[in-house]
Amino acid sequence: MAVVIAREVRDGESVGIGVNSPIPAAGALLARHLHAPRVSLRLRGVEDAVPFVGSKEFFDFAQRGRLDLFFLSGIQIDPRGWINLHQAGGRRFPGAFGSAVLYPVVKRVILFRTEHSPRVFVPKLDFVTAAGRPQLVVTPRAVLKPGGDGLLELASWHAGETAQTVRAATGFELRPASGASETRPPSEEELVTLREQVYPELEEGFPEFVRRLSRR
């Protein structure tokens, strides 16, 4: 997932990463090592992160349309890529955080979700926390992108999956995009950079994430 995200980061962009987004953080740092050295980051625990005063200054920056790329997730995600972070099946989840404003105002939003199942990708959300149009959706199984009508389509499936297995794991009808194919696998360079350079950089801001990786 981090490698797919890294490939979407463009050099010179301003990129914001939330405190609950270790995988996008890994992706953005990987991009900075490989093809986007001039990317500016708002990321906890990184020494040269933009020194905004408070999260308010960061949100103001985004609200004025200056933030190029941000990452959101959802307890539920619907066919348009709208997200629910509040409640599902009678259970209460944390809440919107910045999403209800950021989704509509940030230039590009990438959704990421570590579970790709019918209970996550649902036809209708129990609660619409934030509405917007994602650039793409990255999961452990696949990459989805909005088609011409704004509904998500299957752009690529990762090694070990097929178009059929991904569609079976999705709770709504998932058309294959034109040219849908297997995701380009991570290169040796991408994997080595991730392990040897990116994970140590994440230690300060995401110690639990790095601890879990090192136990695997």
């Binding site: 944390p94 209800a100 404003v101 509509p104 110690p207």
Partner: protein, 262 residues
């Protein structure tokens, strides 16, 4: 100029039934002191998100409502007592979203009664928050804009890195605690340490909360633990996991609280 007081006296300054902002560098020692004095019926305000402090206050039954953009334990996952209390309906949650709650605090800090906010259209928050209004932007080209009421907590509690003898308090630029303080009518603070030259020089990632805003300060070394304190300590992961373990079951949570507050 702020008064320096003991921790228990600081907790006594915050009355039951007040609206209470909680700093994002969490004043955990002061929260525990509040619970030891049996605080009740608090209407919490996040700045703009909540974490362990809010979850603990809820677990102890001290909270009536919570105005927040979201509550979780960051890398440690969901806030169990928050989730359970909202599901049971024992705590009323007033949902917002970070930029909106921060702009509402800015309105409170600036002494105006409301503020326009961007975004939000398409979100069910707009339906749930019946106190938010949609009007035609009087300065725009016919577009609609959302207005939200100002947020100005009666009290706030914050934790800082160090204070000088006048009570000027240094905090991190990572959070919005200075804005929360500006918006609040009375503020009670704790600090890792006090020294005469505490505010003589600030690092690039620090900012000052002027003593003019503060009613009282208590010196509480390690006052954010088990949450790490910017540049001084990291999260005490073992202690947070122990909390989470207890929090999975209400009975075990009561035992945990009895031991914590003994």
């Amino acid at each position: 100029m702020a008064r320096f007081v003991e921790l228990e006296e600081a907790a006594a300054l915050v009355p039951d039934g007040c609206s209470l902002g909680i700093g994002r560098l969490p004043p955990m020692a002061l929260v525990r002191a509040l619970l030891r004095r049996g605080a009740r019926d608090l209407d919490l305000v996040s700045a703009p998100t909540g974490g362990l402090a809010e979850d603990l206050l809820i677990a102890a039954g001290a909270v009536r409502s919570l105005h927040t953009s979201g509550v979780d334990l960051a890398e440690f996952g969901l806030a169990p007592n928050f989730g359970r209390a909202v599901e049971e309906g024992s705590v009323r949650v007033i949902d917002s979203t970070c930029p909106v709650l921060l702009m509402a605090l800015q309105a409170g800090a600036s002494g105006v009664s409301f503020t326009p906010v961007p975004g939000v259209f398409g979100s069910d928050l707009l339906r749930e928050r019946t106190d938010w209004k949609v009007i035609e932007d009087p300065f725009g080209d016919g577009a609609e804009v959302v207005l939200v009421p100002a947020v100005a907590p009666e009290y706030s509690i914050v934790h800082g890195l160090r204070a000088d003898d006048e009570g000027n308090l240094v905090t991190t630029i990572e959070f919005d605690d200075r804005l929360l303080v500006q918006a609040s009518r009375q503020v009670v603070a704790t600090t890792e340490e006090r020294s005469a030259d505490a505010t003589r020089s600030l690092a690039a990632d620090e900012q000052l909360i002027p003593a003019a805003y503060l009613e009282a300060i208590a010196v509480a070394p390690g006052g954010s633990l088990p949450i790490g304190c910017h540049g001084r300590s990291r999260d005490d992961a073992a202690a947070i996991r122990e909390y989470l373990d207890a929090a999975r079951d209400p009975g075990r949570m009561r035992v945990y609280l009895d031991r914590l507050l003994a």
